[in-house]
Point group: C2
Chain length 205, copies 2
Amino acid sequence: MRISELAEATGVPVHTLKYYLREGLLQSGVATGRTSADYGTEHVDRVRLVRALIEVGGIGIAGVHAILTALDTPITSQHSFLGAAHAALPMTGMDEPLTDEVVGLLGGLGWAVDPASPPARALGVAIEGARRAGVLVDRERLQAYAVLMREVALLDIVKVDEAMATGGPGAALRMVVIGNVMIDPVLIALRRVAQEAASAAREQE
Amino acid sequence: MRISELAEATGVPVHTLKYYLREGLLQSGVATGRTSADYGTEHVDRVRLVRALIEVGGIGIAGVHAILTALDTPITSQHSFLGAAHAALPMTGMDEPLTDEVVGLLGGLGWAVDPASPPARALGVAIEGARRAGVLVDRERLQAYAVLMREVALLDIVKVDEAMATGGPGAALRMVVIGNVMIDPVLIALRRVAQEAASAAREQE
DNA sequence: CCATGGTGGACAGCAGCACTATCCAATGTC
DNA sequence: GACATTGGATAGTGCTGCTGTCCACCATGG
């Protein structure tokens, strides 16, 4: 498959594919001559992934690059690859220091979390941001949310285990990274739909 | 308080405040002369809100404007204001038509949802996006997530009711809009932290 | 009273991002 | 042999969220 055919197969203009090649989001195909290369289905998948991450996931080129790099890196242990995946996921505030409040919250829940954990640090920033916007976020509310998100995480882990069993660590890593980025919008949308449903159900009474 | 003092109080440069004034994100203060106006604490709050929505909420100027407009509009019924709030919240894909899959999913859950509902439409787009990225999203998984997000929504609704009781419909609307935008990142961060905790707990065994 | 500098207002400019277009020589393809 | 295509380099575009410049005016400190 030549680059023009890849463009047609994915609906992405050739120029944009060249751009992705330059940015390292796409591997060049196997050269079949000095002015042609051969692209395969893995390239089609890759392009679709990149588009989905950008359009629906809403992460930038830099974020996509970090994710793809993580995906292309061989993994060692079950736990370290989760850390690697989370480090690759772009979140605002993951460079800020861990707040005492987060430490207290997670400690109270009995959750063992690495102090360097990017999501734990981002959590502190998100809580602080909500407060600055005038939302009252107390410990009780955070705990309630945390318990529910723990259930969500357990569902996630099941899917990761399945991927690990069928496709090995590579597939598992892929599931963590892409599953997080792409499922987040689903969860957010579900939250709002549920609000509407709950509100409508009450009107009914 | 003059504009320079407002700038100092909020940490936002005067030029940026002027920009917000131009864009209608901030009301001008009470004119005390031809070259001066008086700003109050409500302006400080407003600026903080705008910054939080942009920085942590990650929504654009246009989105902030839509939200602020909704906040400044008087409301009628309990249910319609939830719809108004959701329409004001920027979500990718809220203009796409409702998919059959979403109709089936919500129907199966017994959730009454308006076909024009923005989050329901965004949900279809998010699911489709996840699939395009190569994530397997089946009905069972969606239902499991939906049930959990319903619990989250019930917690949200409690907070909205409290706001309604103490501050009236204005406060309730504010709670819906800002609570959604600002709590989303908290939930996302919690999800990832929970994944790490669950993974770490398993390593322990 | 008068210099200084803050103020509202208009507008242009900028940096970053995700492309998109132009150009080129080499080449494969009919 | 004509002609489109390819890889590669480079420049330009449209959008966003500020940021800088300029201006006439005027509040205030010395």
